[in-house]
């Protein structure tokens, strides 16, 4: 992966079978600046050997996402040292992450000081909606990347006065697949499942649901219109995410939102006493 920008453009590649020395591409930084840069590739091994080499086995057993995991642990240490409750909020696109967070931020005003880091491929529409609550919001435009990585969060954290906060909410890119593999250093992973998505999402996306600390069924005001089978969905959630705490709510009507907000305040209080 590109070390400069975190983008997922392949480094070494070929055109008509010929290796390309370096590729240049252009993309926008979070602040809107457009930059071009090259991805170098390894010089390779271009001389011939007329002697033979014995084969050797290297046992490595090293984590492939070791780089991300190390940064995630560093983030986690920082969050714990600051006594900051950190959430990683994930769902498929359109499940209601931004609407829930906007409502949550409004409800928590005066009770929990929150900030949001929001990731999207493009546009700052979500950030603009979240800013209407008055909470500090940092936008990460991932460009082509379908998930947030720990390093992006570490960068975005620099834009916030973390000491003045109780909770940091990270709204991930709308995607139920890739963000499952990338730890951001959060204390709680929150997976949203809207009633309009049917009942079998938890069974279709097992890694994401299995990693959930909290599952929130959203848009419950639309249960009847969507023909949503609540019992079946709850059974599927329990099966795919046995250790998750489950909430059901409607960000629009407000039903169930209070229980969710009380839970966050209790989690924050519990974190405080454990330090």
């Amino acid at each position: 992966m590109c070390q400069e920008c975190g983008c997922s453009k392949p480094g070494p590649y070929t055109i008509d079978g010929k290796p390309v020395k370096a590729s240049t591409h252009t993309h926008a930084l979070p602040d809107g600046t457009v930059i071009s840069h090259a991805h170098g590739r390894d010089p390779g091994h271009d001389h011939h050997h007329d002697h033979s080499h014995p084969h050797q086995i290297l046992d490595l057993n090293t984590g492939i996402l070791g780089g991300n995991d190390r940064v995630a642990e560093r983030n986690r240490d920082a969050f714990e040292a600051l006594n900051l409750l950190t959430l990683n909020v994930v769902s498929s696109p359109g499940a209601g992450k931004t609407t829930l967070l906007t409502r949550t931020l409004n409800e928590l005003k005066g009770r929990l000081r929150c900030a949001v880091i929001v990731g999207d491929l493009a546009t700052d529409n979500d950030a603009a909606r979240l800013r209407t609550t008055g909470a500090p919001v940092v936008q990460i435009a991932t460009g082509t990347l379908c998930h947030l990585e720990a390093g992006m969060v570490a960068e975005a954290m620099k834009e916030l006065d973390l000491r003045a906060l109780d909770a940091l909410i990270i709204e991930n890119v709308g995607n139920l697949v890739c963000p499952a593999s990338f730890d951001l250093g959060e204390a709680l992973r929150v997976v949203l499942h809207s009633v309009t998505e049917g009942e079998d999402k938890p069974l279709k996306y097992p890694p994401m649901f299995h990693s959930a600390d909290v599952v929130i069924v959203t848009k419950t005001d639309m249960t009847a219109a969507a023909g949503f089978d609540r019992e079946l969905a709850l059974k599927n959630i329990r099966q795919a995410a046995p250790r998750a705490k489950v909430f059901e709510l409607s960000s629009r009507s407000g039903d169930g939102v209070q229980a969710w907000c009380d839970y966050l305040i209790a989690q924050k209080a519990a974190a405080k006493t454990s330090h």
């Binding site: 992966m1 997922s8 392949p10 480094g11 070494p12 590649y13 070929t14 079978g17 290796p19 590739r41 390894d42 390779g44 091994h45 050997h49 033979s52 080499h53 014995p54 084969h55 050797q56 086995i57 290297l58 046992d59 490595l60 057993n61 090293t62 984590g63 492939i64 996402l65 070791g66 780089g67 990347l145 379908c146 998930h147 995607n175 697949v177 890739c178 499952a180 593999s181 990338f182 069974l203 097992p206 890694p207 994401m208 299995h210 990693s211 329990r238 099966q239 795919a240 046995p242 250790r243």
Partner: protein
């Protein structure tokens, strides 16, 4: 989806390790992929084929060891495989939240010269 970037970092690590051992070629690259790692083996294989060209692993064989999801049932004091990702213990039918294996995503070994 993200298998390309994962394969890319795998090849970077493999290249570094091979160079450190003064190798000029990677003949075999072995990875371990858990059922719950979020990585699809076929997609990883495709990414390897696309990305290996021009690297030390250009002529390498790519081996994937798939690790099943294995849970611990405290009730039965025994492990069980969560087949089809059902975390219910087949003996006592209690749900287990204690996953022991299945999240692996590792570069296990390289054969180099």
């Amino acid at each position: 989806m993200h298998e390309f970037s994962i394969m890319q970092s795998t090849l970077e690590t493999a290249t570094q390790q091979a160079r450190a051992a003064e190798a000029t070629q990677i003949h075999r690259l072995k990875v371990r992929v858990g059922k719950l790692s979020g990585v699809v083996p076929e997609a990883l294989r495709f990414a390897f084929t696309a990305l290996k060209t021009g690297s030390l692993a250009d002529g390498a064989e790519f081996e994937i060891e798939e690790v099943p999801a294995v849970c611990w049932c405290a009730n039965c004091a025994a492990e069980f495989e969560a087949t089809r990702l059902n975390y219910e213990c087949p003996r006592c039918h209690q749900l287990s939240g204690d996953l022991r294996r299945g999240l692996e995503l590792e570069l296990t070994a390289l054969e180099i010269s």
